[in-house]
Symmetry: C2
Subunit: 195 residues, 2 copies
């Protein structure tokens, strides 16, 4: 038993590297094929390792998925910015999350599985409740922040579905500027628009 687990030890101890490889492979395959479509054997093969190791490092497929489906949107604090550019700010951050270099696959993993996996769905509702809604609540009447955040989420999840999951050609073809120009005003109205 390693009793230094909760310190900041300088040990990338072989096992940690294997663990990371498994997790990386899992993120890739869960993102591409969803929870059901990605088998533990597939993950193991992608990490050049035995399937049994996947279970040893993560206790089950569910736990592996939970580790892989971590999402931190890092939404900006909207109170600090010009109230008229809130919609634009949100859609710009959206594009960074989905197409920026630091994209951690987290959202696509959740979205890919949330339709047929209750855990993923709950996790996604959690992201809404703990990451999206508070940001909106900071700039809108808290009484209907949920409604506004819900509308914002509906547009953003739909855009993600069409562009990154379903890959509807006309939506894939949209440039960043077009997206900002079209969707920005929608989000602006949903977030802080009239009534």
């Amino acid at each position: 038993m390693n009793f230094m687990t909760e310190n900041q030890p300088k040990k990338p101890s072989k096992s940690d590297r294997t663990r990371a490889q498994i997790l990386e492979a899992a993120r890739l395959l869960f993102a591409e094929h969803g929870y059901d479509g990605a088998s533990i054997r597939d993950v193991a093969a992608h990490a050049s390792i035995d399937p049994a190791m996947v279970i040893r490092y993560f206790r089950s497929k569910d736990e592996l998925f939970a580790r892989a489906a971590v999402v931190d949107l890092q939404l900006p604090a909207l109170r600090a910015i010009d109230r008229n550019t809130i919609g634009e700010t949100l859609i710009r951050r959206f594009l960074e999350i989905w197409e920026g270099p630091a994209s951690g696959h987290g959202m696509i993993i959740l979205l890919r599985s949330a339709t047929s996996n209750e855990f993923a769905a709950e996790k996604l509702r959690d992201v809404f409740g703990h990451q999206v809604r508070p940001v909106i609540a900071a700039v809108a009447d808290p009484a209907d922040a949920g409604r506004r955040a819900g509308l914002v989420s509906s547009q953003l999840l739909g855009l993600a579905m069409c562009r990154y999951l379903l890959r509807l050609p006309p939506v894939v073809a949209l440039s960043h500027d077009e997206i900002i120009q079209n969707v920005g005003p929608t989000l602006q109205r949903y977030a802080v628009g009239e009534a």
Copy 2:
């Protein structure tokens, strides 16, 4: 062999009823659990029948799914209506499709499986190309009808995801009037708005 198959025969011939029962059970379970989550054995049990019969009547699970995932949105011809109410017309039809009495489960079946099943995804793209896009093309410059239809679809698919699949509480709580009031203008702008 029944050589009267392509006429309009007055024979609900036992087998036709079984066939219909299987299809109904399949639609229900595919809508609830998706392609992977609904097994042929489940469908058979729901139809009070042997699993082998499902294969006999439909040749395979894929074919059964194809039969179950039929969608006809019956979108109204937008050219006939007041140009200023296009957004409202679209969102009203959306609510009818998803919550009206004639809801055939078709869209929820597709949406539930499209994220991890390529056939369902292709079918959904097909619905977009053959049912949504033409309707938009009738009232907008055909050159960017794809872009406009894509934006409309992103909002509507996102709303369906949040309200019927993910069941985000604040989105579920929205009344029809609230939805029409909030989403209508968005669709209006996407469909026929400036530039």
